[in-house]
Symmetry: C3
Subunit: 212 residues, 3 copies
């Protein structure tokens, strides 16, 4: 299980870096910026989490996270035409969603185990970990952030993390099963949003935005 989630994590890091380079490529970026923004997107959320938890940043303990982010960014930069083929880009969106789900639940688990501001703070950190890297990428590249779009990205994370905290409180003996279940729920919701282009419904918006 440990080893399995490790490899899933690396796949998530890869997807974060790949999607970062792909969304930025049309703006015209150079090899170095692509790599820097790929790294920041991949490890940014977890870095903010570790700073707030006051633990060593995860990539300083296992450089593979950085190497994988660098490798994925470089490959994407040079093979951009491959990755933008619609099917592969969509595949990456799914892997990205799975990575976000996994990192969020890992974060809730880690901060719950540290007794960090239970029960609310672990949920907040789960969301920070899942969306922090993407927010940094968008801010540094001048894109509109996730928070200002109708994309359904963070809401599934909120639902899954909240459920996981409830399960940790109520049935702590089934922690692994609960974690798997919540990763699955986040991913299922995110996958549905990707598959059917679901967005936040109008009645949950302060103002209806025109599509596009």
């Amino acid at each position: 299980m440990q080893s399995f989630s490790y490899w899933i994590g690396m796949a998530g890091i890869t997807a974060f870096a790949v999607t970062a380079v792909l969304v930025l490529a049309p703006k015209g970026i150079d090899l170095f910026s692509a790599t820097v923004l790929g790294i920041i997107t991949a490890v940014g959320g977890g870095t903010i989490r570790d700073l707030i938890l006051n633990v060593p940043v995860f990539w300083s303990l296992d450089l593979n996270y950085l190497w994988v982010a660098i490798g994925a960014s470089l490959v994407t930069f040079f093979a951009e035409s491959l990755f933008t083929r619609r099917e592969i880009f969509r595949l990456m969106l799914y892997v990205d969603g799975f990575g976000a789900a996994l990192f969020a639940i890992q974060t809730v688990d880690k901060s719950w185990a540290m007794d960090f501001g239970r029960p609310l703070a672990p949920v907040i950190l789960g969301i920070v970990t899942a969306i922090g890297g993407g927010l940094l990428r968008d801010v540094l590249s001048g894109r509109q952030t996730l928070l200002m779009t109708r994309e359904l990205y963070a809401t599934p994370v909120l639902i899954g993390c909240t459920l996981y905290v409830a399960l940790l409180a109520w049935i702590p003996d089934y922690r692994s099963a609960a974690a798997l279940c919540c990763v699955g729920i986040i991913f299922a919701l995110r996958a549905a949003a990707i598959r059917w282009d679901l967005t936040v419904p109008h009645w949950l918006m302060t103002k209806v935005k025109e599509p596009g």
Copy 2:
């Protein structure tokens, strides 16, 4: 006094979250983003401060800060038409100014007591705490930040924090009275700026900006 400043602090957190949702509502944001940005605005400055001071982030020790920020964001989201009534919005601006004054002086007090980079660093941290959350909100939502407008927000904080440091150095026995006095001064200056729409005078600008 402790308990009183605690409740004032909660009122400040409320005002930070409420004003955040109100200024972002016209851009069209969803319920989730409104809450996330409300939380970030309310606790962002204090979080940066705690990271720099290398102490546990304040909201992990007392979740009420988060609950209040979440509650205020949700209420504002659903009762937006109420809050944008001009008088209530202005009231919120005053409470926001009071919260900023209080948090800034609390921060100077805390970092002075920790002997953190006296005498200059406490002033810097006071300003960071007062404006950090608003800067994060503006950067994440694509608004022009406070630093690029002529609004008189941070200057009163600078004046009050500097005065408080001077008083701490010269008359340390009158710490509580000095704190109250400096909170009052910051608030009075900020309230005057809100009341009479005061802005930074032209001769303190590198270039005169057209109003609006």
Copy 3:
């Protein structure tokens, strides 16, 4: 040597603050914002580094960094017409490049000595230290960041830091000479970029941008 690099460091802080105020002046900023952005630009990168290394932020241990940044910002604000004289602005760009080179190599040295994620993490932190302050400045002031331009700023830092890590691994006995050499290489590359307006070549871009 220690003392020499200290003074060079102060010159670098000065140049960071001066160039920050100069690039922001045409947008119309007030005295206070100029100073805040000058400070953030000057010490921002090193602050992020220290947070990640989990060591006390450097400016809390030696307030001279802050005083110098404040002084340089104020002087630049009031003497703007002097500094924008083309020769002096270019001189500042060179000093800025030298400061970035010095801070990057100091950071690699410090994090290598702490055994922080060798060999890759020190290089990452070197880059963060060199460009972090400028990124914060640009994000807070609504400018396009360095990462989205073709400017040759970070690439020399990457080359120098990577070389220094290699030298630390292979010939640890010649640490001081290696450091001097790598600072020199970064500065030489950056100076060449300033002198001949070198930019990232087209084949290293995802899309060719029009000049300007």
